[in-house]
Symmetry: C2
């Protein structure tokens, strides 16, 4: 398996096949781990980083975590391919932009990915389509156990797992659910969600995690606290809150449908029309238009575009993907033209 | 012939069949006349107005100006029908909104129309598609002569034809050419036209004459001075200036075409897409989108919509026309929905 195999299709998390897929794009669980006896990355020498990667690469392979899992040395990977992995949510911007010995192990379906030498020595991630935290937890918990038998994690009896950043100490767990909330945005009720969610120590973020803006009405809800709670408690809290947000979004969609159908149809069909007709289009506009179209498909207003196609366009029109598909470097203006062409070919 | 015969089609002036139709929508010539022995309308009693109308209606009929010419008493015409005539440029807003004895004689092709008891006793108008001032002048000059043999016009040896407003005294002539100047608007060069034209005592106005805003990149150029020049001089001046504006617009379209084709195509195809997809659309947005589409057709970018269809949509989506087509009163919101539906049916 190679990176080029990835670029023309979408991973499982974008398949639109998971539960509650009308509102939930994906569920993600990440565990931060460090190896006992090695300093944290920020304090490690180059040779220590190299040793950590060598060790983890070997043990990940030996652990036989998943059939077809392959390891990518990011020092040997060019910047476009690294950006491609960011766009697929398989590695972080930090790992992509960083330097030195680092890598990622990738599962065939892109459900499992394991970053090596990011902020921590190990960042395990399971990413699945729709709302399925139990399933994701069961996968990552097993992977964590299997790896934990082969390497000794840095662990403290009182604190739990030790991590480079104190906010991850304890469980090292981050649970995030990516939601599509167009109706709450249109009706300006999204602020209510922000307020309610922050009161119970959950965070709402944009599409690419911390510090990013929400675009195209896509939001991530994730836990803030990792210490003093068990993994199950954290997941339980998310399983309590997210269904309420899903319900709220669905109710508002229905009320838009019954109370202002014409306006809603207008927004949706115009978005569809723009996507079909544009000759030049930015990624931000694409995201916003796809958001409206996705809602239209989920409301049964548009029936000739599968959600899978929307999800694919969403992924494949990002800068690195576009350039991989075109097979050459493109500047911003060229990308806007290539993006419009790609979209037209997909949905006309 | 009745008003209802008018509402579902466009008059000759919108046929798109005249010369230079890529830039010139229509050419209009109007003559203001008053009948000797009667006070101007603003000073006339009700009975004098009635006499003027009676006299003119009779003489217009007897003059056999055109086969099928029919007279419409506007006091017996409801406000929706009067607005319909305004939208077709057959009568002025003032005549539509006014009260008392007044009317209009309409030719079958809507080339000739004669308003009775507007600001002056008589306002003759010839309106033709494209740039054809000589043709329009020849028609109106003949009509003026024929009527002038049957009624005595108020005329002064030094001043010429006497009119209610001093700005019309002399020839009583107004020559206007309606232009479609999208490229000059896009490139912000339209101001140059304004400046050049006003220096030689011509005026630039919006679509419905004095005091109206230009919308959808449509502008009227017309003469300001009616006194101290012959009719031929005035028409000659317009025939000198308008071709320069046409040339300027065409050059800028071509330079957009060669220098920023993608941006131009994007604007045009998106306009087309919006028109095809919208479920709710205002008349102003319609005008702007039709303007882009019209340019696209004239540049050969869009090939599956005839200019005639664009012109028809342009006319038939105005408020009174929409209501006539629907056969009932519509409020603003209902019109925006009906307009979108009408457009979709016409161009999909």
């Amino acid at each position: 398996m190679q990176i080029s195999d990835l670029s023309s299709q979408a991973g499982e998390w974008l398949s639109g096949s998971g539960p509650e897929t009308d509102v939930v794009i994906s569920s993600r669980i990440r565990l931060a781990r460090n190896i006992a006896g090695f300093p944290f990355i920020s304090k490690a020498s180059e040779s220590q980083r190299a040793q950590v990667q060598l060790l983890l690469r070997k043990e990940i392979s030996r652990a036989r975590l998943e059939k077809g899992l392959f390891y990518l040395d990011l020092q040997d990977t060019d910047s476009l391919d690294r950006l491609l992995l960011v766009e697929r949510h398989l590695i972080s911007h930090e790992l992509a932009r960083g330097s030195g010995d680092r890598g990622v192990a990738l599962g065939r379906q892109e459900i499992l990915s394991i970053m090596v030498n990011e902020e921590d020595h190990l960042r395990l991630q399971v990413l699945q389509s729709g709302f399925q935290l139990d399933q994701a937890w069961s996968v990552i918990n097993k992977v964590d156990d299997m790896l934990g038998k082969r390497v000794e994690y840095a662990f403290h009896g009182d604190l739990g797992y030790l991590t480079a950043c104190p906010t991850n100490v304890g469980t090292g767990l981050r649970v995030s659910v990516m939601l599509h909330l167009p109706a709450l945005v249109i009706t300006k009720q999204i602020e209510k969600v922000f307020r309610a969610v922050s009161k119970i120590n959950l965070a709402v973020r944009g599409l690419y995690g911390e510090g990013t803006q929400a675009s195209g009405d896509f939001y991530q809800i994730s836990n803030q606290v990792t210490l003093g709670q068990s993994e199950e408690d954290i997941i339980y809290a998310m399983k309590e809150v997210v269904p309420q947000v899903i319900k709220f979004e669905r109710e508002v969609r229905q009320s838009l449908f019954t109370q202002s159908l014409k306006g809603l149809e207008d927004r949706i069909w115009r978005a569809y029309g723009q996507l079909k007709c544009a000759r030049v289009i930015s990624s931000e506009e694409t995201m916003n238009l796809l958001s409206s179209l996705r809602m239209g498909v989920n409301l049964g207003i548009v029936t000739d575009v599968p959600v899978t196609t929307i999800n694919e366009i969403f992924l494949l029109t990002q800068p690195a993907h576009l350039q991989k598909l075109e097979g050459r470097k493109l500047d911003g203006g060229e990308r806007d033209v290539a993006r419009a062409t790609f979209i037209r070919n997909r949905i006309n």
